[in-house]
């Protein structure tokens, strides 16, 4: 199966933060402004408004894109990669010289919801203003008060300036784009919606801008009408269809599983958040209140698909969770590894050459089984997730499995940190292809057979380890 690159190319404005190298720095750096006392809040702005603004900033995940690796939170300069060039985020601290300190609330609202700077410059929709367009005046006000009053101004330039190649450097083209695609309707509850469903719709569609990744884009990088949240490629990753209605792919997930996934970044026997979704959990979703997580879930439940779209219905739990050291499944895999070894004993005995080893079971045993266990069932507490029920393994595309093997998992969720080592240096393209086949064949419902070339293609999106000067 070939990895589709067509949709990968469409990921222009959604290849957000594929670089994970500086994440821990950002993660620690971004906490400070929220817990520290108000910087210079004016008397009229209540603590409650600032808190609400801080929460909205979390939910909208402003910090992720408006902070460069190792930089001060909200001071901008983060490079968002796109096939047309690198788009650098702005300084949104209240600096009068380099930030938004001089902006009126109306100007701020126009930038966030319409993508137009106070000086008339058009923003690129790397800033998801097409989602933020629905944000309420109250939330825009709170966000404005928070950014202006509760964080310290950073009076330094963001660094590099966005210079896209022609014709994308013509920012006025965005007028046309906005005319075609920007829905300026503010959020308002609809008849027939429950309170939770309405809140969930507001969060998913506007503030948390889930559709930025999960809704496929047309050739103009605008959300495809009628395909809301149906899944799309994001860099090398694939943001899956997240409909949780009866026929939706998340239909079999329990409410608490969806909520745990958003909050902790993993749900036992369901899957883990890695790559861009791991970052969304780390920077944003883990801070949401329980009622907001429930609201998101309620809204996703409303998202239905007309049929099961050919997706296999998988068992909800694995009845054979034995956790014994020598289970029949263990033995099968060990015997398979033994057979591979016996076929080319010299290769395995060689202490130096690791690149030519291509036995799927042997590779799995050596590189994966120490954590995911020989039978792929992980550990009882989900610290090491099961591969048998993992959405990345069960998926019909190998993207997320390949990207996870390349880049590892580096995510802080509400219940703690998850680290899976990156194998980008340790496994060849061919070895990763073999491993993906082995894992999906043994533990998945549909064996996938990506080629080494497919892995090489996705490897280009795994940019975390480039030398410093080559990074955006």
């Amino acid at each position: 199966m070939a990895v589709s690159l067509f949709s990968a190319a469409q990921s222009l404005f959604r290849a957000r933060r594929v670089c994970s190298l500086g994440l821990s720095i950002i993660a620690s750096g971004c906490i400070v402004p929220f817990v520290s006392v108000a910087w210079a809040a004016s008397a009229g702005d209540s603590r409650a408004t600032i808190d609400r603004g801080a929460y909205i900033a979390r939910a909208a995940d402003c910090v992720a894109c408006h902070t460069k690796p190792g930089g001060v939170a909200f001071a901008g300069g983060y490079g968002i990669q796109s096939p047309m060039g690198v788009i650098y985020s702005n300084n949104i601290t209240p600096s009068m010289t380099h930030g938004i300190g001089g902006w009126s609330e109306a100007a701020f609202a126009r930038a966030v919801r319409e993508g137009v700077s106070p000086n008339g410059t058009r923003l690129y929709p790397a800033m998801p203003y097409d989602s933020y367009a629905g944000m309420t005046d109250e939330d825009i006000h709170a966000l404005y008060v928070y950014l202006q009053g509760a964080i310290a101004p950073v009076d330094t330039p963001v660094g590099p300036v966005t210079r896209l190649r022609f014709p994308y450097n013509m920012r006025n083209l965005m007028r046309v784009w906005n005319w075609l695609y920007l829905d300026r309707t503010r959020f308002a509850p609809r008849p027939g919606e429950t309170v939770a469903q309405a809140r969930g719709r507001y969060l998913v569609e506007s503030v948390a801008h889930c559709g930025t990744c999960h809704t496929p884009r047309n050739f103009m990088m605008a959300a495809k009408a009628g395909h809301k949240l149906e899944g799309a490629q994001v860099g090398g990753w694939y943001a899956p269809d997240i409909a949780a209605g009866t026929h939706g792919p998340l239909g079999s997930w329990r409410d608490d599983e969806i909520e745990a996934y958003l909050r902790d970044g993993h749900a036992r026997d369901r899957g883990v958040a890695a790559g861009p979704m791991g970052e969304a959990v780390e920077h944003s979703l883990r801070y949401l209140t329980e009622s907001d997580l429930q609201a998101i879930t309620a809204y996703l439940r409303q998202q239905n698909r007309s049929d099961s779209s050919g997706r296999p219905v998988r068992p909800t739990t694995d009845p054979a969770r034995a956790y014994q050291l020598d289970s029949p499944d263990d033995r099968l895999i060990r015997h398979a590894a033994r057979a591979e070894r016996n076929a080319t004993p010299g290769l395995y005995a060689d202490r130096r050459n690791y690149r030519d080893i291509d036995g799927g079971a042997a590779l799995y045993m050596a590189a994966c089984a120490s954590c995911h266990q020989i039978d792929g069932r992980g550990t009882r507490d989900d610290f090491y997730p099961s591969l048998r029920q993992s959405s990345a393994v069960q998926a019909s595309r190998p993207n997320n499995l390949i990207m996870t093997i390349l880049a590892g998992v580096h995510r802080d969720g509400a219940d703690g940190a998850a680290r899976m080592p990156a194998f980008r240096h340790d496994l060849t393209d061919q070895q990763i292809a073999v491993l993906v086949h082995f894992v999906t064949d043994r533990f998945g419902s549909t064996p996938l057979t990506p080629s080494a070339t497919d892995v090489a293609t996705l490897r280009r999106f795994d940019t975390a380890d480039l030398p410093a000067e080559a990074r955006p």
Partner: protein, 536 residues
């Protein structure tokens, strides 16, 4: 100085933890760095795969080098003829030659020395004083601990006196201590009754995820290979140095440091490729971080830095004894990492005028292999064998003791007259003996062992109080000192003879103390790197 082109600002010889930390620090601060490594790069999974195929090597009896690359041009230390012993005590430390070095198969202990360890001569009239104090090194201990993610107990008195937290530190350990395993809890409780303090061993295993490393889950496989990379290994900083711009050349065996015509500087570094092609590289400064035995070997091969005649001499280790017992209750040794704590009762004190300080390290091993071999040799078979293995393995207690040695010039590594390496260059001879100062500790150890057996209701499985074991902690071979007549490097780690030659290995340590020397070697290396940084 005339304008001169260099291949790099700094050439670092050796990609183990000590060299890689310095290389990373220099590269991160904008210097051009070339790292030359005699061995090759192999990923963790390959080592793990090899380990599983080569039998039980996790016990002390085994050869921990087995799962690792062992190239003819970069042999690991147990290859026959690599080291030839001529002295009364066999000395062949476990050592790897590959990217990341020997911390691939260590136990992760990351000790700071105590302030008194730096003033042995002044305080106790034995050995040598360091030319620097604990306070001089403290900032670099701190830096090394952060780089390596060291876990430790901020409340512990590491002088073994059950007092206030000691030694002084500018900041808490970067990683919190791991909970004691049941075995270590029980051990601690039982020996405490007899007045033996048991403290958490500072270590480089991630208790919580640290940078890219997952948390330790107690595979009990720290050596020969942590299967998941929770335990720090030198390849981390070799890779980080590369990411910071350093160029790492593997399969590059450095065989000669070329002196400038006036002899005051190192003009070039020569290395061989596996095809025996010789390559010459130049740099403003050279940092040799090639292990405590290979570093003096390279200096002797090059006739470099040896105006004192001390290169290769003053070899020290923490030679001592061991005790394995079957306790009177199930202890369940073998759950968690292989080492978690130590008895530091004899860590420091006036007794150091008479005998070396003593550290009893408690090994959290699985005893099944030794137990089964013993029982089978005794003719035990069938259901009785199973029952006895279960009974004894549950009650297994292993203690490995370390003793402080003093620098003795007669204990030395020198070039072999007859044995040659892949390139035809002399291999190593070693003469090693334990001096009276260390030997005087034997009576104390014997008395302690009697106490431990009593306190744990133990029955001796094996007690060694006669054959001096070594702990793979080589020190002293390129000894640091302020007098160029009896030492090889200055307090900066700089050669007394060549102004642009720095040496970073545990071999520079002029006093052995009694704790694993890796972190001290790392701190000294980072200190040297900070000095080099100012001069380039």
């Amino acid at each position: 100085m005339a304008q001169q082109e260099y291949d790099a600002d700094v050439i670092v010889v050796g990609s183990g933890v000590i060299g890689s930390l310095a290389a990373h620090h220099l590269a991160r601060n904008g210097k051009s760095v070339i790292i030359l490594e005699a061995g090759t790069h192999v990923p963790r999974w390959k080592i793990l795969d090899s380990f599983r195929e080569c039998g039980n090597v996790s016990t002390d009896a085994g050869n921990r080098n087995q799962p690792y690359p062992n190239e003819p041009w970069a042999p690991s230390s147990f290859v026959p003829d690599y080291i030839t012993n001529h002295g009364p005590i066999e000395y062949v430390p476990g050592m790897l030659r590959m990217v990341g070095g020997t911390t691939w198969h260590w136990g992760g202990a990351c000790w700071r020395l105590l302030p008194n360890d730096f003033r042995l001569k002044t305080l106790y009239g034995v050995g040598r004083d360091w030319p620097i104090s604990y306070d001089d090194l403290e900032p670099f201990y701190h830096q090394a601990e952060i780089e390596m993610g060291v876990s430790g107990d901020d409340t512990a008195d590491y002088s073994g006196k059950n007092g206030a937290p000691y030694p002084p530190r500018q900041a808490p350990f970067p990683v919190r201590p791991q909970a004691f395993s049941y075995f270590n809890q029980r051990f601690r409780e039982r020996v405490a009754v007899g007045g033996y303090p048991f403290t958490y061993q500072p270590n480089g295993r991630a208790t919580d995820p640290y940078e890219d490393r997952p948390a330790c889950v107690g595979n009990n496989n720290c050596s020969p290979i942590c299967p998941i990379g929770a335990q720090y290994s030198g390849d981390r900083h070799a890779t980080k140095a590369e990411r910071a711009g350093a160029r790492l050349i593997s399969d590059a065996t450095v065989y000669r440091l070329e002196k400038s015509p006036d002899g005051k500087r190192i003009a070039a570094v020569h290395y061989y490729t596996p095809e025996r092609r010789s390559i010459r590289l130049t740099a403003r400064m050279v940092l040799v971080a090639a292990h405590a035995l290979e570093t003096p070997r390279l200096m002797l091969l090059s006739d470099v830095g040896n105006s004192s005649g001390m290169v290769g001499r003053n070899l020290m280790d923490h030679n001592a004894f061991s005790l394995m017992m079957i306790a009177d209750e199930p202890m369940w040794s073998g759950r968690g990492p292989v080492q978690q704590g130590d008895v530091l009762k004899w860590r420091d004190g006036d007794f150091r005028r008479q005998h070396g300080c003593i550290r009893h390290e408690v090994g959290n091993f699985v005893g099944n292999v030794q137990i089964t071999e013993r029982l089978i040799a005794q003719g035990v078979i069938g259901p009785e064998l199973d029952a006895k293995i279960r009974h004894m393995a549950a009650r297994w207690v292993f203690m490995g003791t370390n003793v402080e040695m003093l620098p003795e010039p007669t204990n030395r590594m020198s070039l072999s007259a007859s044995k040659r390496d892949f390139y035809g260059l002399p291999l190593m001879d070693i003469y090693y003996d334990v001096n009276d100062y260390a030997r005087a500790a034997r009576a104390v150890i014997e008395s302690d062992y009697t106490d431990f057996l009593r306190l744990l209701g133990g029955e001796i499985f094996e007690q060694n109080l006669s054959v001096w074991e070594n702990r793979d902690h080589p020190m002293g071979t390129v000894i640091m000192g302020s007098d160029p007549r009896d030492s090889v490097v200055t307090h900066e780690g700089r050669s007394h003879d060549h102004e642009n030659l720095f040496i970073a290995t545990t071999g520079v340590m002029p006093a052995a103390s009694v704790v694993n020397p890796t972190l001290t070697g790392c701190a000294l290396s980072l200190r040297s790197a900070s000095i080099m940084l100012k001069e380039i």
